[in-house]
């Protein structure tokens, strides 16, 4: 997956190579988040489908569904943090770094990583129950993840412009509350998925 991020960033870099001067901050930001979104979908889609049937039954006997979903969310969040952190480093390295407030940008990455991971883990669980799950994963997750992505892009834009932190409090609280809603819902709903 790490290779996936790095090569996508490199493809973007080469595609924009000729007109690097024309790359406005908005475009820079948007491309970064789209790369992260696709990385997240690809990385997390595997989290249920790659497990073998026997191992799922083993887990089923071993522990409660709540424990499974919480541990999957934590694991996926860590993976997303790692991927987006390295992705951001490499992206800033090759594409130039117009971010003025790196601290806020990192908070933004943290919130987005947790949010993406929690939404996509539940959706991956749903999609793995259906047969054609690669397409289904994208169709199911994009509309649901969109509000989160929009808030993240807005927050990231604030960080890039180096605005005062008080301006972004709204966005941070909204992102946090969406994260909380999604995590609670996955905690409550996953037992029903797990049974089948």
């Amino acid at each position: 997956m790490l290779l996936y991020v790095v090569s996508t960033v490199f493809v973007c870099y080469l595609s924009f190579n000729l007109r690097r001067g024309q790359l406005t901050p908005i475009v820079w930001n948007t491309i970064f988040w789209i790369i992260i979104l696709f990385t997240a979908v690809n990385a997390i889609a595997k989290s249920f489908s790659q497990e073998r049937y026997g191992r799922l039954i083993y887990y089923y006997n071993l522990c409660s569904p709540q424990a499974i979903i919480v541990s999957k969310i934590i694991y996926n969040s860590l993976i997303m943090l790692l991927l987006s952190g390295i992705g951001f480093g490499f992206y800033a390295f090759v594409m130039g770094n117009p971010v003025q407030d790196v601290g806020l940008y990192l908070i933004c990455i943290l919130l987005a990583a947790i949010g993406f991971a929690s939404v996509l883990t539940l959706v991956a669980g749903i999609a793995s129950k259906a047969e054609n799950n690669a397409t289904l994963m994208a169709v199911l997750s994009f509309p649901i993840i969109l509000p989160m992505l929009l808030m993240t892009i807005r927050l990231a834009k604030n960080a890039m412009d180096g605005l005062d932190w008080s301006v972004s409090v709204d966005e941070i609280t909204t992102l946090l509350s969406i994260d909380l809603i999604v995590i609670t819902l996955s905690y409550l709903l996953f037992p029903f998925l797990w049974r089948s």
Binding site: L122, V123, I126, V139, L150, T174, L185, L193, S196
Partner: protein, 231 residues
């Protein structure tokens, strides 16, 4: 009479809404003028869509608690009804926007949110169609339905409030808020919401009944065929 009084009520209310909605007095606002009458149709349709999607989520919860397929039928039909009303709401909205804003689909956060919301419920339909086994289909799509509604509400009602929207009531545009919408309008607006919701429930009730009959017929066929083979 006891069973279908609400259908008569629905027809009466809708006639009242259409007649008084077009003929009744309305306050004159800058920009909006007479097009304020669209409140009775566009806004009321959206309200009843939200009510229907909420009901759909409640039935999904009920299904997960009880496991009876009846609840799941209702949940899916309510979601379909909501989707249908959402499309009607988009159409009435864009006819109105064409004359008020001069563009049938301006780049407005509420419109984009609505489009994404519709996509979410279309994805729900797709998810439903990708399973064979009914119980499994019902359980997994119920989970998705609840998740979708939980994201739908912030998308439609919270996110647009954080930015300026072209919609009346946002960003300094004249609104239908407490003092802009006078009592004359309210006399039509609230019945309009009830009327459209009743119409939706009627539609959905018919579809649920068709579904039940189909299931019954299928079971009947499944029960009789083996018997014939044995004879």
């Amino acid at each position: 009479m006891k069973k279908y009084w609400w259908k008569i009520l629905c027809i009466l209310i809708l006639f009242y809404v259409i007649i008084v909605g077009f003929m009744g007095p309305v306050p004159h606002q800058p920009i909006l003028n007479e097009s304020i009458r669209n409140t009775y149709f566009h806004v009321a349709l959206w309200m009843s869509m939200t009510i229907m999607l909420f009901t759909s989520m409640v039935f999904s919860f009920k299904y997960l608690r009880s496991g009876s397929l009846d609840h799941d039928d209702k949940a899916s039909e309510f979601a379909k009804g909501g989707l249908f009303f959402g499309i009607l709401g988009c159409l009435t909205g864009s006819v109105w926007a064409n004359y008020t804003w001069g563009d049938p689909w301006p780049n407005d956060p509420k419109l984009n949110g609505a489009a994404v919301g519709m996509l979410m419920y279309l994805a729900y339909m797709l998810l439903r169609s990708s399973f064979e086994d009914e119980q499994r289909k019902a359980r997994i799509s119920s989970v998705y339905n609840i998740l979708a509604f939980a994201v739908f509400i912030p998308l439609i009602y919270i996110l647009p409030r954080l930015t300026d929207s072209l919609h009346p009531g946002n960003g300094g545009n004249p609104a239908f808020s407490s003092y802009d919408m006078n009592n004359e309008m309210r006399k039509v607006f609230y019945p309009a919401i009830i009327g459209w919701t009743l119409l939706g429930v009627w539609l959905i009730e018919l579809r649920v009944r068709v579904k039940k009959i189909n299931r019954f017929l299928r079971e009947e066929v499944a029960n009789t065929n083996p018997a014939k083979v044995h004879q």
